[in-house]
Assembly symmetry: C2
Homo-oligomer: 321 residues x 2
């Protein structure tokens, strides 16, 4: 039986930080790193490498604005699992990035919308020249017209980026969509690896990731217990259980869930929650649903649905309501 | 765009009753029926039609041992949504079943293991002769060898049964398994409709059901908010959102979730819970995981995993431990 040769990028700290404002203890992050390493997970995304000078967030945990000195205290001894960080266009100060040989990071991932692919590739070139592995994560693909994508691919193909991601930001895509996009990415970018980053609004994050695998995707984003913004991500525990690769072990991931994630989930919410399901079905950003969950009307699903599907709501939104 | 022509069988009361011992109020069941009808759901499985004489369960709610007189009080006025009941081999007293013209039920479904297909078909013939639509739900398919299935199909093809179900009792099957089985069922039973009944242990119930649809399955089991034994079922709200059929409406299902299911879920648990995930991954009946969740060790996931994957546990189980 052939082994699956893909690599898992665990995003618990980075994407999960969007849920709890990066309020993870150093002990937890250390324990997660140890356990992901024991589970055979290839990469751990330990946070954002955005600049606190370019972004409000003084009250955020340290994983939002990773600092190399701090990182070396957290992870005094690198194990086999590589470390990754995400940056956003316009929010990263390139002077914050050390050359790779002085850094704990191995992979820097650049997230951008389709209109900013040129800016994304500029950063990719910079980080690549400093010795890092790089990826380009094109967000909100469900809102991108195909000719825009085809145009962007010309520049991407000629760039030094290692991995290009299919990102289902709104959790609105199904197996057919992901199969189609993964094949398209592979055929138009034959010299790049393809990554998959799914959201679980319609309980499709895991199965969509498996479709990506079957179409040749090589980098699979996941997070432990699915922790991630709104409906969350593909659960790491399902990937390590399912993929045919002798390096993966479920037990250490269960350890993290039992000893940490259950308590974190008591305090913070993510996952299959009806307003997120509705925004996924409607192919919309989850921000309106997140605002609902933060309000007294958190369980007023019918009213929420009526609002999102009424033409008048769109008019009011356009007026800034 | 072509419409999906399948029919949804909502099993909230029947399969959900396995969670709460059928403790549903008459008002709730009435409200569910009204809303499923408004949502365009074609069938509502309102319980089991097993006999209290053949099965312990004096403390169960009335939906476990459906009585026609009681049913007529609950649903004084049939709407478009048809009613269905499930029976188990050896637990149904045929004398309890009225001729269809005197009954509120339209469809009687017979659940059996592969070794009891002949007994299942005997019941099917009986109910068919009384005027009912019938289905045969072969459970635990992931433990059935293919030649057993092929042999059983000869008898099934020659029986009057309308629908034959692919049942993933242990929530252990993936998209490829369901695609394969649905195609096999269709090719060997060309004169029967094929049904799909999935469990959500690996968050694959919805996506597996969609694979069934793409392979021509016509009857889709689901339950509101996924309520069903252990990891639960394919959520009805996802099917009515997703399927391309103008009769389906999401709003009435959201109404049921908001006004009933949230409170029921507070009191009773089902869904993506780690011990159920583990039993799905290991292709085992969830009963050991259900016992764990009923014990003080409910969150001891690592110990549970060690037990289930240790060879000694199997020996102890064999000795009746």
């Amino acid at each position: 039986m052939s082994q699956d040769v893909c690599k898992i990028v665990d995003c618990t700290i980075r994407d999960g930080g969007l849920v709890n404002n990066w309020d993870f203890s150093v002990d937890f992050v250390r324990d997660l790193y140890r356990n992901l390493n024991a589970a055979g997970v290839e990469y751990m995304e330990i946070g954002y490498k955005n600049s606190p000078k370019l972004l409000k967030g003084a009250d955020s945990g340290p994983w939002r604005f990773l600092d190399e000195k701090f990182l070396k205290e957290v992870i005094p001894q690198k194990l086999e699992t590589k470390l990754s960080a995400l940056v956003d266009i316009g929010r990263v100060d390139e002077n914050d990035i050390l050359p790779r040989e002085e850094s704990l990071l191995d992979l820097i991932r650049v997230a951008c919308y389709i209109k900013d692919v040129d800016k994304g590739l500029e950063l990719v070139r910079k980080f690549n020249s400093m010795g890092y592995e790089t990826s380009l994560n094109i967000m909100a693909l469900s809102h991108v017209l195909e000719h825009e994508l085809t145009e962007a691919f010309r520049d991407i193909a000629n760039s030094p980026v290692d991995v290009v991601y299919v990102v289902d930001s709104y959790g609105s895509m199904d197996n057919k969509d992901i199969g189609y996009l993964t094949e398209k990415f592979r055929s138009l970018l034959p010299n790049k690896l393809i990554g998959i980053h799914m959201h679980n609004n319609m309980q499709l994050a895991f199965s969509n990731t498996l479709v990506g695998v079957s179409k040749g995707a090589a980098f699979l984003d996941a997070s432990v217990y699915g922790m991630g913004r709104a409906a969350g991500n593909c659960p790491t525990e399902l990937l390590v259980s399912y993929l045919k690769n002798t390096r993966y072990e479920l037990r250490p991931v269960l350890d993290v869930i039992q000893n940490h994630m259950l308590a974190i989930r008591e305090k913070w919410e993510w996952g299959y929650i009806i307003p997120y399901m509705v925004s996924g079905v409607l192919n919309e950003h989850p921000r309106v649903a997140m605002a609902l969950r933060d309000s007294d009307a958190r369980d007023e699903f019918v009213e929420f649905y009526d609002k999102l599907t009424s033409p008048e709501t769109t008019l009011q939104s356009a007026k800034g309501d």
